[in-house]
C-alpha cells in the first residue's frame, strides 16, 4: 500500500471524516449525467443506484467514496497535471 492509499484508508476509517466525505460524494454523484453508467466489478450502476450505495456506506458505496477522494486529492495536489 502506498502513502496515498494509506491516507485514503485513514480518512475512510475515521467516522467523522467519513461522514463529511459521504456528504460531499453524495453532492458529486448527484450531478452525474443520466446518460452515463458505470461498471464496477460485476455490477452496473446509474446515478440513483450509486447514490443508494453511498448512503448505505456498503462496499460499493465505500469504493465510490474512495475513488472520489483519490480524484479530489489528485486535483488538489496537482498530481492530475503532473504526468505530462
Amino acid at each position: 500500500m502506498n502513502d496515498e492509499d494509506k491516507i485514503i484508508d485513514q480518512i475512510i476509517s475515521d467516522p467523522a471524516l467519513k461522514e463529511q466525505l459521504k456528504k460531499l460524494v453524495i453532492e458529486r454523484v448527484n450531478v452525474m449525467p443520466d446518460t452515463l453508467r458505470i461498471s464496477v466489478g460485476s455490477d452496473d450502476f446509474d446515478k440513483e443506484s450509486l447514490l443508494n450505495h453511498v448512503r448505505e456506506e456498503d462496499e460499493v458505496g465505500t469504493q465510490i467514496m474512495e475513488m472520489e477522494l483519490d480524484f479530489l486529492r489528485g486535483l488538489a495536489s496537482g498530481a492530475v497535471y503532473a504526468n505530462e
Binding site: V31, M32, T35, S42, D44, M67, E68, D70, F71, V80
Partner: protein, 214 residues
C-alpha cells in the same frame, strides 16, 4: 518450459460488461492475426478453467489476455466460474488481466507459479458506458475511452515490445484520454467519467519481469 509465440484470450460474455470486453477484444485478435501470431480464442461458454488449462499445458502460449470479473485471488470466466486462481500455472507466459483487483495478490502468485510478467489492476477496473449504446458496445464513445488504452497493453506486446513498454504506453494513453476528459473540449459525460479513468490510471500495475517479450 519454452513458450510458443501465441495469444490465448478468455472473453466470456454472460453479462453487460463482459459483453463489452468480449466485443472490444476483437481489435486485439485481428491485430494478432495480422502479425501471424497464433490465437486461441476462448470466448463465451468456452471461457472455462478446463479449456484454459488444457491450452496452457499443450500449446504453451506466450501471452494470455484474460477478460472477466475478478478479485484479489481469482479471475472468473463464463458465468463467473473461477478460471484462474492462486494454484493456476499458465506456464512461462506474460499475463494481462482486464479484471478487478487481481493485481493485489493473484498477480504475484502467478509469477511465483512461473509466469514471466503480470499486468493488471490492484483495485477495481472501472468502465464507464453509454446506456443507449449497450447493443453496440463497439460504438460506445464512453467505453472507448476506457477500453482502447486497455487493449493497448496487448497490442504493444504483440508488436514485439517489452512488458514495461506495454504497461507504460497503456498508461500514457489513459493519461492522454484523462487530460482530454478534464478539458473544456470534453462532453459533460466525459468530464464526469474522468474521475473513474483516474482510478484505472493509478491502479494498473506490472509485476514480475519488465523486460519480458512474447
Amino acid at each position: 518450459m519454452p513458450t510458443n509465440r501465441a495469444l490465448l484470450v478468455t472473453r466470456p460474455n454472460h453479462d453487460l460488461i463482459t459483453q463489452y470486453f468480449h466485443k472490444w477484444s476483437e481489435e486485439v485478435l485481428h491485430a494478432a492475426e495480422k502479425k501471424n501470431i497464433k490465437v486461441y480464442d476462448l470466448k463465451g461458454k468456452k471461457a472455462v478453467k478446463s479449456e484454459l488449462e488444457s491450452y496452457a499445458l499443450t500449446q504453451k502460449p506466450s501471452l494470455f489476455f484474460l477478460n472477466g470479473h475478478g478479485n484479489a485471488y481469482v479471475i472468473m470466466g463464463h458465468d463467473n466460474e473461477p478460471i484462474v486462481n492462486a494454484s493456476s500455472s499458465l506456464g512461462e507466459g506474460i499475463i494481462y488481466a482486464r479484471s478487478c483487483d487481481a493485481g493485489q495478490a493473484l498477480g504475484a502468485l502467478l509469477i511465483k507459479n512461473g509466469a514471466k510478467t503480470f499486468i493488471g489492476y490492484k483495485r477495481k477496473f472501472i468502465c464507464g458506458y453509454s446506456p443507449d449504446k449497450i447493443t453496440k458496445p463497439e460504438l460506445d464513445p464512453i467505453a472507448r475511452i476506457f477500453l482502447e488504452p486497455s487493449n493497448l497493453v496487448v497490442l504493444i506486446l504483440i508488436k514485439g515490445h517489452t512488458s514495461q513498454d506495454a504497461h507504460n504506453r497503456s498508461k500514457e494513453a489513459m493519461y492522454k484520454n484523462f487530460r482530454k476528459m478534464i478539458s473544456s473540449a470534453a462532453s459533460y459525460e466525459e468530464r464526469y467519467a474522468a474521475r473513474w479513468m483516474w482510478g484505472n490510471l493509478n491502479n494498473q500495475v506490472l509485476i514480475g519481469n519488465p523486460k519480458s517479450k512474447i
